[in-house]
Symmetry: C2
């Protein structure tokens, strides 16, 4: 994996870059649609490519480990082959899902014991076997195994958790170095900054992570319930201590305005279930604000969902039709809303990149943020 | 609407034809995907055009009348405009749904009183207002209001029901003649042969319907639980008495082998929810037989769903991946299976047409039917 930093904004920390993987290039800043169990919910891979223009998608190690399981993925030749997705993939480490979905988890030095949310079967995730699982999945970018503490966390717990994450990171890096990719292309390992909402812990963690000298770095444990201003503060602090010449990935964030604000702080990569999950519930993000398409006011609005972005689905179906599909409980409603929201997110980061390159990012961002937040 | 009969098979009653509507041509025999409330379930209109190669889709008057309602459809300029579907549409009359879905229905000479299955609200369908509703929907082909008796029905009931359907037909034809299309293109009215499984009633009904001299004719009340052989017998009888120079539409049929058998009897048009409904439950139709994709035997079958038809989805996703999506409960499973099954149905009728034209239909049909029925 290669990262070229092409341009840095003069008035903020926003950056335009280019990540090169064996499955193709990724122009940063980038948003990565979440493909939980090897499928971005309600979206085909053709739509991801042609309509949404996704450059990289995310897979969840926890979900893929449980279903279809590493044995099938290994036989298929990895997730790219299995799911018919030729572009880059990033997998998380499973840590977040173990803490948010699994039952009866026990955190030990060795790793985490948990029960599957599907059938109650018992499993152990360790830094080493999570590296092995991500080798079997075969993502281009894989994540270190971490503990993601909830918000709020006591200082003592946050510190102890961060230290465990650091010890696990050392084991991840070592096991990653001792193993090889399985399918003939390279994989890059990103470590994750933790430290909850404590400034000194965040600085300490960012420095520890930076010292590991991995090919990119991530910030975890944010957007878990803390106020937006606190997220921005923590993110800014982490970015200050993470190397400039490597991509920075803010995990699980966020709204369109969160993305623009965090780009301004120096973030290059984002993922979030919001465009798909909220889309399935009828919330649409547009360049003019947020739409609740189930609202009666759209019943006779025959204008296109969004004419301002380059996406067939957004341009062709009307608001009235989409509202009708939601009211009637049609699956197509979820498909259209998911495609539109993801296309909008990709459009937004592409616009951000253009503004960073032409030196107008900060001004544009200040104008856009209040518009994006509007309820239409 | 224009119907050109291009070729008739020498060894059967199979026909190849061409229907021309103001929204484009339809090559017959044709299968029409069912777009219940203005959406073929889990399929986008782009996929219908490019992957499935649908030439005409069906809308259900009962569903569209309840949601979004005729007022919104009128404001939108009809269902084509509302749903962004530029090709031909056929709407049923609502009769079938009133009898299968609605509650507390009361059949009177005037029409049918019923309560909506959605909110219990009371409605009256009459031959006249069903014509008005289908004028507002704006389908290219619309259906007469009929009563569809269940199987089995007593002779006396079947006869009385058929006679009511005939009286309603006279009123439909009259009201249709007294009203005009609303959106600047022509609509054709098809009457429906009823008569349950009684030969004399079917003959009587087919003759009555033929005498109305409409632009096409339909056969209803079959594939409602009777043995397949009885369906074929009734269908053959009706076809004998329906004019040769007009398209014949067998409503709600059926499996791939049902379609091939009925084509041999002289049917030109089909619709059925089976490819989409069964698809959503993991049943796939292919040229080699029927697949239950949830079966464990497909877990490591990395071959394409179907390489023998011209459809990106069928050619690109593997059986193992589709099985995984079903097991994991992903929406994409229903999308892929629906697209594949519809593409296969359209492929099948296209193949049938080619064999009719080159004179090999009967031989091909005899070979195909047992293969299509196989469980893989």
């Amino acid at each position: 994996m290669k990262f070229d930093l092409l341009h840095t904004d003069e008035h903020s920390k926003a950056r335009a870059g280019l990540i090169t993987t064996d499955h193709g290039p990724i122009e940063t800043p980038i948003f990565m649609p979440v493909g939980t169990v090897g499928s971005v919910k309600a979206v085909t891979h053709e739509q991801l490519t042609k309509e949404i223009k996704a450059e990289i998608i995310l897979g969840n190690t926890y979900h893929l480990y449980l279903r279809p399981g590493t044995e099938i993925l290994r036989q298929a030749g990895g997730l790219h082959q299995f799911s018919n997705w030729p572009k880059p993939i990033l997998t998380d480490s499973g840590g977040y899902q173990v803490f948010s979905l699994a039952a009866n988890r026990k955190i030990k030095e060795e790793g985490v014991l948990f029960q599957s949310h599907i059938d109650g079967s018992k499993h152990l995730f360790t830094p080493e076997n999570v590296m092995d699982t991500q080798r079997a999945i075969g993502a281009d970018i894989i994540m270190a195994f971490d503990e993601c503490p909830p918000y709020p966390s006591e200082y003592a717990y946050a510190k102890q958790s961060m230290e465990l994450t650091h010890r696990w990171l050392t084991r991840c890096v070592q096991h990653f170095a001792n193993t090889s990719p399985l399918y003939g292309y390279e994989q890059a390992l990103f470590p994750i900054v933790q430290g909850s909402t404590y400034k000194d812990l965040r600085v300490q963690s960012a420095q520890f992570i930076a010292d590991m000298d991995c090919e990119g770095n991530a910030i975890g444990g944010l957007s878990v319930g803390e106020p937006e201003e606190m997220m921005y503060e923590m993110c800014a602090l982490c970015c200050e201590h993470l190397p400039v010449d490597k991509p920075r990935y803010l995990m699980g964030v966020g709204t369109p305005w969160n993305i623009l604000e965090n780009i301004a702080l120096g973030i290059d990569m984002f993922d979030c279930v919001m465009p798909t999950r909220n889309g399935r519930n009828g919330m649409l993000f547009t360049g003019k604000g947020v739409i609740n398409i189930k609202n009666k006011k759209w019943a006779t609005d025959f204008s296109a969902i969004d004419e301002d972005i380059d996406c067939y689905t957004s341009n062709s179906y009307s608001k009235a039709y989409l509202r009708h599909l939601f009211v009637a409980g049609e699956i197509l409603a979820m498909q259209i809303a998911s495609i539109h929201n993801l296309a909008f997110y990709l459009h937004l980061v592409k616009q951000a990149r253009a503004h960073i390159i032409d030196g107008t990012y900060t001004q544009w961002k200040e104008t856009m943020v209040p518009i994006l937040k509007q309820r239409l």
